[in-house]
Point group: C2
Chain length 193, copies 2
C-alpha cells in the first residue's frame, strides 16, 4: 500500500527488522529527510559520521549501509534508481529558514515536522541527528565548498532500504526551497513485508 | 599555562564564553578530537551537519564557526596554522578498532576517553556526536570516497578557538593508527582568559 506524505510535512512509523522501506519521488525533484532510531532504545540513532567511517564514502547508494552511533547497521540500501543523496546536512528548521531565506515566511521545516511526528515515540527534538536526505543533491567542490542543487530524481524514482534492526523511522517531504528546486511536492512510501 | 594530554588519552573541562582555547600539536602529525556541549544544558552539542549547512563548506579554518544542534555558534576559529582538520568522522572506539585494525589490540579510543572524561558533567556516551577532529587529514576524492592520511601538522602547529557560549569541552590525543601516521603523541592545550 502506498502512503502519501503531503508537501512540507512529515510522519513517523515503526519498521521491523527484515521489512523493506521504499521511498518514492512521485513527481520528481523532491527531497525526503529520513531518520532512524532503535525501537528498543531511542538513544541509538542514525549517525552520518559512523556511516562515513565504515562505508568510506560520503556518497551512499545501492550496497551501502547506514550505521548508528553505536556502530550497528540500521538500514541497508538494496536498490536505488537515483544514486544522488545527501548525508552531510541537518533537517531544515525555523533557524535555517531565517538564515537562508530571510525574505520568506518562516517554516518549521523538516526539523519541526520530524520533532512532532517522533514525539509520541519519546524522542526529543535535541535527539534529532543529521538526516539521510534521500534524493538531496549536495555537490562538494575539491576545496570542500558545498552547495544545494535541485535533485536529479525523475517522477517515479525510488530507493529501497532493508531494516537490519527494529526501527522507528521519521520521514518527510522536504520544506526548503533550495533542496527541491523551489517547489514543494509530496513523497510516497511503501512498507514491504 | 600549558596542559598536557598524554598519548591515547583525553580530558574535559569548562570553557567560559570569551575564553580562548589553543590546541597545540607539540611533536607534529597528531590528531585531537574536540567536543563541545552547552554548559547550561548538555543536550545542546556540537553538530557537524549544522556547521556544514551554515558555513557552506566541509573544510573549517580561521574565520569559520562551529555550530550546535540548536543552530547556535559554540566556537569561532580565530587562528589556525594548519588549515587541515576533519569534521566528517566520529571518534575512534572499541568498535572502530575491531573494524579497521583486527590484528591490533582493541583500545577504547577517543570515544572511550571522551566518555570517561565527560561522565562527571552528566554527559552519556550516546550523547557524543561527531567530533571536530583537529589536525585530522581526511581527503575526499571527487567521487565522494574518503581516506585517512597522516596529519600535515608540524611540531608547534596550533589552532585557536574562542568560546561563544559557556561550554564543556572534551579533548583527546587521538588513539587511532591511521589518524596519526601510525604513532601516538601528546596534545598540548592552553586556556587564555
Amino acid at each position: 500500500m502506498t502512503e502519501i506524505i503531503a508537501p512540507r510535512s512529515g510522519t513517523a512509523f515503526t519498521l521491523e527488522r527484515g521489512q523493506l522501506l521504499k521511498v518514492i519521488d512521485p513527481e520528481g525533484t523532491q527531497v525526503s529527510d529520513l531518520l532512524a532510531f532503535a525501537a528498543d532504545d531511542v538513544r541509538e540513532a542514525l549517525s552520518n559520521g559512523r556511516t562515513f567511517d565504515y562505508e568510506e564514502t560520503l556518497r551512499m547508494g545501492a550496497g551501502n549501509r547506514l550505521w548508528s552511533n553505536r556502530s550497528q547497521i540500521m538500514l541497508s540500501i538494496i536498490e536505488d534508481t537515483v544514486g544522488t543523496h545527501d548525508f552531510l546536512l541537518t533537517p531544515c528548521s525555523e533557524a535555517t529558514f531565517r538564515h537562508f531565506y530571510p525574505e520568506e515566511p518562516v517554516h518549521r521545516g523538516c526539523f519541526g515536522n520530524l520533532a512532532e511526528a517522533l514525539a509520541p515515540f519519546g524522542i526529543e527534538p535535541d535527539q534529532i541527528p543529521c538526516a539521510f536526505n534521500v534524493f538531496m543533491n549536495v555537490p562538494v567542490t575539491p576545496d570542500g565548498k558545498l552547495r544545494v542543487d535541485p535533485p536529479v530524481s525523475m517522477p517515479g524514482d525510488y530507493i529501497r532500504l532493508r531494516a537490519e534492526m527494529d526501527l522507528i523511522i521519521g520521514l518527510t517531504a522536504c520544506s526548503a526551497y533550495a533542496s527541491n528546486g523551489g517547489s514543494f511536492k509530496p513523497i510516497h512510501y511503501e512498507i514491504e513485508k
